[in-house]
Symmetry: C2
Subunit: 362 residues, 2 copies
DNA sequence: CTGAAAGCGCTTACAG
DNA sequence: CTGAAAGCGCTTACAG
């Protein structure tokens, strides 16, 4: 059986349908310009000849690649020394969901890697200069990020998953990003435990820029704040300060979480529920409690496989929604045309903060 | 500052260097055809003008995309119900290492997804017909795999990571694959425990096609066989049968492994070391032992973050090597040209089985 | 609504 | 070793 490869070109389709090639092109790219009956004839020819457009030709002529780039990272270093079990879960799911949402639009996703010793800007530049991608999806950008500098300066469209912490509002609103509302998440977990009757709800988080922040300056601050603010409110405390007995901050590792849990129990024996800044920390705390043959409700963050296997409450970032929205920011509600950055009219959908969904596993 | 975008084309480079455009093209694609001094002048022009070839034009003319496709999967369903913590670790690392190895060759990696309810062949076909990729890297192909059928029939180059189990030698050698030597891995773990003085080494694996196989017909058989054969040898047993007291088979989940461990301990109380078919099973067994306040050496498979955090012995599949070799099979030792499948002269590097590396964490 | 021409930026024959 | 021409398969003006 002969391979049903695409007919050599649009020309054969045009001949088959008895129209000019431009009409075939119009059917494919601007259906509204073509009379329905002509469209019908052309579609029949396309199906009969099994025609698929040559995308390189299309890209060359139209100067649009209909492709975006996203970085893939390794998880091999996770678990070593003091890290968590699957620290790259969100990043991996983001990539997967972006690819999936892109397929619906006929947008290709090109992947690249960047080890710590490599210059990521060089890689971005190469992808841009060779016309292989129209835009980028970055994760966790910071104020002095060289990638931001390059992309903004070169007028290359992009969107960051993760807002720039500890930067001015002016800077934060100078480029498109979407993010997760960490404070809303930890507040929801706190309220859940409260509603279940717990009154001594502690927190284990990360040592970050500022302890007990009023304005969050990091993801850690944000998640801390959600717990502390909601707890103050629930306790109806006049004081603006949460006692330092109620929380412990450390690194993002199981062993650090075990240390934190141990200290917390010692300082605050009446502890009856625990909000954690991540699933890794929640697992560490849970293991410490298991060692003590005790059990209290614990919550983490990300709704990762870890939280499912170890069966603790977590917060789902709803990555499919995030990924789909990322593409909306780059390319509008549909289609595969990446909008060139337009300084006068900012995309109004950017800079959105999504609330995570509480997944209760009490 | 003006954006240093690539000079409009190869023509400007040719003018700058005072040569014809074909010479510039030759410098880029066939350096050996050009005199060193000419090359030097052209390279200077390229650098001066910051020229980067338009890859769509190159692809259109040369009919080579210098791109390959690989599927990305979600890990969101991992951890739910009865699965492991990070079941997609090897697949994710494979994708990462493939992208990394491809970058060295200036090969692009296009990703696609495929949910269980979708037709993967349709997606492959679209990528091929639109001329976006020259070849595919698949994982875990089986004998009646529709992807194999399509790719072989259409003469599209590909390589599978994972051999076809339970199929004839003829079928297995009919297409290129590379794989891991599971038996060698579990044998290594068994020998390690033996050398440490353990004589009652058990095994926890999966319920697969055939229990106590002489010829492995699945990954589970293969890993079982490595343990059972090496143990028979070490015990210098005449009988060709391992007592069914020494092993338990179940599903790929932590809870199944806990069940297996419990049964094994009951039937075989002198058990003093445990070889497991996966890191998930090893974790389950370890947790069961912890619950009993006991500890014996346990080994898993994959050297995943889980094995690192829970600090048990495991077997590293050396994914960087696998990925690099996959590209060698597709494109030779270097370069970005995917060799068309040539039935007369099979690539001699295909159908290789790599030994995993024992990572001892005693 | 449809068509004939031009051209995107390269590489591939082929000629010298 | 280098050059002038052709052409890969589309879409984009533009004309009707």
């Amino acid at each position: 059986m002969r391979d049903n490869k695409p007919a050599s070109s649009i020309i054969s389709v045009a001949k088959e349908a008895g129209v000019s090639l431009q009409t075939v092109s119009n059917v494919l790219n601007f259906p509204e310009r073509v009379k329905p009956e002509t469209t019908e004839r052309v579609m029949q020819a396309i199906n009969k000849l099994n025609y698929t457009p040559n995308l390189s030709a299309r890209r060359l002529r139209s100067k649009k690649s209909a492709s975006i780039a996203v970085r893939v990272d390794s998880n091999a270093s996770a678990g070593s020394s003091s890290e968590g079990l699957y620290t790259g879960y969100i990043q991996d799911e983001f990539v997967y969901e972006v690819v999936k949402a892109a397929e619906v639009r006929d947008v290709k996703v090109i992947t690249y890697t960047c080890d710590p010793d490599e210059d990521e800007v060089k890689k971005l530049k190469k992808l841009v200069d060779s016309r292989d991608v129209d835009g980028f999806l970055l994760t966790s950008t910071v104020e002095d990020d060289p990638r931001l500098k390059y992309l903004i300066q070169s007028n290359v469209p992009f969107l960051s998953f993760g807002r720039p912490w500890a930067s001015s509002d002016e800077f934060a609103s100078s480029y498109p990003w979407i993010d997760i509302d960490g404070a809303s998440g930890t507040a929801d977990a706190t309220k859940l435990f409260w509603d279940l009757g717990h009154r001594n709800i502690g927190f284990i988080g990360w040592k970050t820029f500022s302890v007990q922040p009023t304005n969050p300056r990091s993801v850690g601050d944000d998640r801390f704040l959600g717990w502390s603010k909601s707890l103050l409110e629930l306790l109806n405390l006049k004081s603006k300060k949460i006692s330092t007995n109620f929380f412990e901050l450390g690194g993002e590792s199981i062993s650090s979480a075990r240390d934190s849990a141990r200290k917390l129990i010692a300082k605050f024996p009446e502890l009856d529920a625990l909000v954690c800044a991540s699933d890794t920390l929640a697992l560490g705390a849970q293991l410490e409690y298991r060692g003590l043959k005790k059990s209290i409700p614990i919550s983490g963050f990300d709704n990762s496989p870890t939280s499912k296997v170890f069966n603790f409450t977590s917060l789902d970032q709803n990555i499919p929604e995030i990924a789909a929205h990322a593409l909306v920011v780059l390319m509008g509600e549909s289609g595969n045309t990446v909008a060139k950055v337009n300084s006068s009219k900012k995309s109004e959908q950017a800079n959105l903060i999504f609330k995570p969904k509480l997944i209760s596993r009490i």
